[in-house]
Amino acid sequence: MVYAGIVKKLIEKAGASEGDTIVLDSGFNGILMPHTGSSEPDTIIVKLGSGYNVGIRCTTATKVGLVSKKLSAEKIPEASITPHQQKAPGDSKPKIAILHTGGTIASRVDARTGAVFSSFKPEDLIAMFPEVLEIADVESKLVRNMLSEDITSEHYKLLADEIARQVASGVDGVIIGHGTDTLHYTAAALSFMLDGLPIPVIFVGAQRSSDRGSSDAAMNLVCASRFIAKRGDFAGVAICLHGKMDDDYCLINPGCKTRKMHSSRRDAFQAINDFSTAKVWPDGRLEWLKKDHPACAGKKLELFTKMEKRVGLVKIHPDFDPALLKFYESSGYRGLVLEGTGLGHMPVTELDEFTTSNKENLKILKRMIENGCVVVMTTQTIYGRVDMNIYSTGRDLLKAGVIGGEDMLSETAFVKLKWLLGNFTAERAKELVGKNLRGEITERTLPDTFLRHG
């Protein structure tokens, strides 16, 4: 943000710019800081000698004086940690490519401005996470620098192509640094795009930014590296973040059956309707929790990277307005994932004078399906399996052509449907959407997969 109005004029008159040392007639003396978006427009931000930032309100009568210009060469010095890279002869560390997309895991703070920024030169990475170099030979690459809520399916393709290049160059594993908000969407998308993936592709994120001492970023990254080093025959897409609130171990969670279950805790990512693949400790210990992990034997990587944009994800709720469905219909959507209530329901029955519009819902869905739209039902309970044969509502939906999504997460079903419609015919998509392709659907719902912790 830049200064405007009175403050801008005062600063200009003084010949000062951000980073210069200024003095106000009220006695405040310090470095002129950039205006933060949340500050009042008539407020000038100064960093005092003590290190404190203060906001001082100005009027046209305020006097601003320039004390000294900032040194032109002044920049943030590189961090002074040096990694202990000891390569013993015959030491065979795995080769890991770290692909960055931005997010909390990579953020640093500019000491002068307080702004969060990301920088991905290899030496920055070494400075931030020197431990990783003891585990692996690392190559680091910036794919994009963005917050994960801005990531689109086009970005999935960029990642898939880069992973394919890395596989071809012979890396042992890929780590993808990703913002946590939509991390599980991207993980699911890459699970589908990378057919026959012969190596582990591990997503890591952080819930506390790397600029603070308590960041979880380093441990998540270290554990992902450890896992790749000890992967055995594991190949496939997984997610690696803290298993508990403690800095104890990370969980390797399946790419298609994991969800961000907490807005802020370190252990937000938990497997849903499934078990975690493994526990990994930063010191390299590994405990397999699930035996039937995807294996790489004799696979050849083939990419299917097209994604259908016109797929919707709709949450069902009381007072559901048929106009919402009409929008998808009139906009030509080719696929729709419903996040239904309970076993997979939505209001489709007219019971009294208040429920007359419900029939309209069913009518539109039926028409959409007849016209080629693929409609999949998942559940907003998050845990459990869809079953539309229990109540008449479900049977009505089935009769209309809605496909049950089994125990698939709604987010995974959404990504899967985009992928199916992008790469296959609608007919083929209908066949495959309810079938397990990448571990996104399990046949049995085991008792211990519900709300367990760690």
Partner: protein
């Protein structure tokens, strides 16, 4: 005293407004915590450019921090599992009230900053702090004025509960409690003036009505420097009365060090002297060598025999100073030196052999460290650093005996960067109206004096850790002077006598005043009763055994006494009342009011005389 002596104080006072960045209560607990979380902290590369040496040191030691929390009075904010909520405006208002009282200028738009702290006491790795007002003034006795350059508000750190090997255990009940931070300019010129300034500020804080009370709720940091001495910050002085002692000791320490370092200390050679101690009877060395990984590293300090025996201030020798520094910087617990040897099982022969090995003479000081090679080397480097006085400004811990110990280098301004999770606070928006003024210390004191307390007692009660108990006692109907003398004189007296007065919790004391107010006990037995409570007796039992004697009982006892002492009564006539009073009181052990005893005694003596 030195010409260029500079003393400044910084006061931190906890507020009972609830926590600064979440809605948890300001409540310290001693019951078992239900939640335990372990974390590591790492120096974060980037925000400072150069990493705090102390931070890097802690990380190098691979410390694990154990955090204890409660499922009902701590939340995810303290656990660093949720961003801070908006700042507690009640706490901010208290800071603004204090600012107003010292004529400080509030900051128009307050920015929360992060202060990097990586010793584990802040779960996030930083403390949230903000500057609230600047440029206040405080008047001292004799018209002297000192500056109050800054008033801030910040969150308290977690409290340390102990350490388990390399792990440190912290409890999160204290983390996040608002602290008002008030600093003075370094214009204080004597130890007593430091105390006076601290007292003045303490009283002002009490006037807000939101200051927490009890041990540890107010903490004073002292900044001391003499001409030619490095500025030292002494952290965490908990008692006002100790301030002059700390200041005096620190001045002496800096003066003694200046003297010691005047000519510079020559550092000699470093050698492995393990061979000398192969068959030693010194258990500490033998054990470390026995497991195979230990070595004895030795350092000669030529011409410095006796150096470690030099006293810095009463109770502190230079040797201890060096040892504390070496421990803080290297983690190595101890070393031996020829100023104290032979001792600890090390024989004169071994000392001789050590001198020979090092090529050292009688007038030289030889230091030995027995550790794993890397640690021993680190310890010697730290010792040399201290001997060469290359450590700069430092933060020191206040010990209970008035001495201080090295903690870490004094942090610089670079430790602060903005807390991006907290929006700026515009005072105009959040406090559109005037801030309510607080009572002045003078007003408050005169109210206490009106209750019948003299000025000294009034001040004492005002600043007391037990001021809450005093208020409750008064509301129960206990006479103010009795409550005040009990709390401010009897209890300190019992402490001096060696009684465990820590056992007298606020709740217990209120219970005592309650039974007093119901006339179940007399004020005369209070000292005795409190002493017994300290020793572990239960209040109900004490009250039962000292139940007030009925008038009948007193009469019976007094009749008996008069009968026994009839000769004396006859001889002394009415004057016998005075003589027998003490005996009667003693026999009743405070179970009856003095006035009642006296009246009955008078009656009985008169009767006895009349019947003859």
């Amino acid at each position: 005293m030195e010409q260029k002596l500079k003393i400044g104080i910084e006061i931190h006072q906890q507020l009972n407004t609830g926590k600064l960045f979440c809605s948890c209560p300001s409540l310290l607990r001693n019951d078992a915590p239900g939640i335990v979380v372990t974390r590591k902290l790492r120096p974060s590369a980037g925000e400072l450019g150069n990493i705090d040496p102390a931070a890097l040191h802690e990380f190098g030691m691979g410390k694990t921090f154990v955090y204890e929390a409660y499922s009902d009075t701590t939340c995810l904010v303290e656990l660093d599992e949720e961003p801070p909520h908006k700042m507690n405006l009640e706490a901010l208002e208290v800071a603004l009230q204090v600012a107003h009282a010292v004529g400080a200028r509030p900051i128009d738009e307050i920015q929360v900053m992060r202060k990097t702290i990586i010793d584990g006491s802040c779960v996030s790795g930083f403390q949230r702090t903000s500057l609230v007002a600047v440029g206040g003034k405080l008047k001292l006795k004799g018209g002297k004025t000192i500056g109050i350059p800054t008033i801030g508000i910040e969150e308290d750190a977690a409290r340390i509960m102990g350490s388990q090997g390399r792990d440190a255990v912290y409890r999160l009940d204290r983390a996040g409690i608002p602290l008002i931070e008030i600093a003075t300019t370094p214009d204080i010129s004597s130890p007593d003036e430091a105390r006076e300034a601290a007292e003045k500020i303490g009283m002002l804080l009490r006037c807000t009505g939101r200051a927490m009370r009890g041990i540890g709720t107010i903490r004073q940091d002292l900044n001391v420097s003499i001409d030619g001495g490095a500025r030292t910050e002494i952290k965490g002085v908990q008692w006002l009365n100790l301030i002059p002692l700390f200041v005096e000791n620190e001045i002496k320490r800096q003066e003694s060090l200046r003297e010691i370092f005047k000519g510079g200390i020559k550092i000699g050679g470093k050698k492995d002297a393990t061979g000398v101690f192969r068959n030693t009877k010194c258990k500490i060395i033998a054990d470390k060598l026995a497991n195979g990984s230990g070595v004895v590293l030795s350092l000669t300090v030529p011409g410095s025999a006796g150096l470690f025996k030099k006293e810095l201030h009463p109770g502190k020798r230079f040797g201890r100073e060096v040892a504390e520094y070496a421990k803080a910087r290297s983690g190595v617990g101890g070393f031996f030196h020829t100023d104290e040897l032979p001792a600890y099982g090390i024989t004169p022969g071994e000392v001789e052999a050590l001198r020979t090995r090092m090529g050292a003479h009688e007038g030289d000081l030889v230091i030995i460290v027995c550790e794993k090679p890397a640690s021993a080397d680190k310890a010697l480097s730290a010792i040399i650093e201290r001997l060469e006085n290359k450590m700069g400004e430092e933060t020191r811990r206040a010990n209970e005996d008035g001495s201080t110990s090295y903690m870490r280098p004094l942090p610089g301004a670079g430790r602060l960067y903005p807390e991006t999770d907290s929006p700026q606070i515009s005072l105009k928006k959040k406090f559109p109206g005037p801030i309510p003024e607080i009572e002045t210390p003078e007003q408050k004191l005169s109210r206490l004096e009106k209750l019948g307390l003299n000025l000294e007692l009034a001040k004492s009660v005002f600043l007391s850790e037990r001021a809450d108990v005093f208020d409750k006692a008064i509301s129960l109907g206990v006479q103010p002077t009795i409550a005040a003398t009990t709390l401010e004189q009897t209890i300190p007296y019992l402490r001096r006598k060696g009684a465990k007065v820590d056992a007298l919790s606020d709740e217990k004391l209120v219970a005592v005043f309650e039974v007093l107010s119901k006339n179940s006990i007399t004020k005369e037995i209070l000292p005795d009763l409190l002493e017994k409570l300290c020793a572990g007796s239960r209040l109900e039992e004490l009250v039962a055994t000292t139940k007030m004697a009925s008038d009948d009982e007193v009469e019976k006892m007094v009749s008996q006494l008069v009968l026994e002492k009839m000769d004396y009564v006859k001889a002394q006539k009415e004057r016998a009342v005075g003589g027998l009073m003490g005996l009667a009181m003693e026999r009743l052990k405070g179970r009856a009011d003095g006035k009642v005893i006296s009246a009955i005694l008078k009656k009985k003596v008169a009767e006895a005389l009349g019947s003859h």
